[in-house]
């Protein structure tokens, strides 16, 4: 089962990388208010039970993929409504 994890800097956390991207976009003439830069992790996880897969990926996020002090995460399971 395919899972996609989106990791973002938490609201209120200064994101200098996002600020640099934002100012570059403005310099190019794009009307951008804010840019925040995060990370995408695509996973192929074993098993076919969406609930179990989601729980497993949540554990991955808590332990490794995100640092809960500064990052939030979202999990999307391909082809699952769970």
């Amino acid at each position: 089962m395919r899972a996609t994890v989106l990791v973002r800097p938490k609201d209120g956390i200064l994101d200098p990388q996002g600020q640099a991207v934002e100012s570059s976009l403005r310099q190019l003439g794009f009307a951008v208010d804010t840019a925040r830069v995060g990370r995408v992790v695509d996973l192929e996880v074993e098993g076919s039970d969406p609930a179990a897969a989601r729980a497993e990926v949540e554990r991955m996020c808590e332990q490794v993929l995100a640092n809960p002090l500064i990052e939030s995460y979202e999990i999307e399971l391909a082809g699952a409504d769970a």
Partner: protein, 231 residues
């Protein structure tokens, strides 16, 4: 009677690059340095451990996030839990934060620029195993070289860190955007410290400053006491 040389381990991760300087500095300060490979599941008999600077595992994911899961780090965490002295320098500090052995996290510098220069830091505590040779409020000049040294804690965590008097070093001028200008912290128990400046690069006055020797020699002193107590 000659005092024994304490054995201080320096853990080498793939991508560590200040391990040799750390080994050299510890030997210069009369300790017996012991290189420890990252895949070691057990530490040799040691009186203290240093996690050196560098870019372990290429800084992939987040600085220190992968090194934290190396076998040697499991052993270091057990060593620290048993009260063992652990000093993390730069990438070593990042690893200790990711491992939850120290509070906070190191983020990209607010300037997004890599900072590589001598910086002044103020000693906030001298009652630790890492700063006993310093005097309170003393200003040390020690080099930093990092792109991700901006120490961050949210308001609640920062208040707790201050309440437990865990801030040992603060930058005396803006360097990287750290909350509270924090340059080095200890854990609540006081046996684990991390700092972004590199004391191992400031041991010989020939290189501009020997202030880093105060920190490493404090560690060597404390490790020697433990070695003597264990005999």
């Amino acid at each position: 009677m000659t005092s024994p040389q304490p054995r201080i381990g320096v853990v080498r991760f793939p991508g560590s690059n200040d391990d040799r300087d750390a080994l050299w500095a510890l030997a210069a300060l009369d300790a017996e340095p012991v290189a420890v490979w990252h895949s070691a599941t057990e530490l040799p008999d040691l009186d203290a451990v240093v996690l050196p600077g560098g870019f372990s595992y290429g800084d992939y994911l987040r600085c220190g996030a992968i090194a934290r899961f190396s076998p040697a780090m499991t052993a270091v965490a057990e060593f620290a839990e048993a009260g063992g002295l652990v000093l993390g320098i730069c990438n070593g500090f990042q690893i200790l934060c990711e491992a939850g052995l120290l509070p906070g996290v190191l983020r990209p510098n607010t300037s997004l620029a890599f900072v590589c220069r001598d910086v002044p830091v103020t000693v906030e505590r001298t009652d630790t195993a890492f700063t006993a040779r310093c005097s309170q409020g003393e200003r040390l000049v020690i080099p930093v070289k990092h792109g991700e040294g901006c120490w961050y804690a949210d308001d609640e965590l920062y208040a707790a860190v201050e309440a437990h008097d865990q801030i040992v070093l603060r930058y005396a001028e803006p360097v990287n955007g750290s909350v509270g200008d924090v340059a080095g912290v200890v854990n609540e128990a006081g046996n684990v410290m991390g700092l972004m400046p590199h004391p191992e690069h400031a041991v010989d006055p020939l290189l501009g400053s020997a202030d880093g020797a105060l920190i490493l020699a404090s560690l060597v002193d404390a490790a020697r006491e433990r070695a003597l107590a264990a005999v």
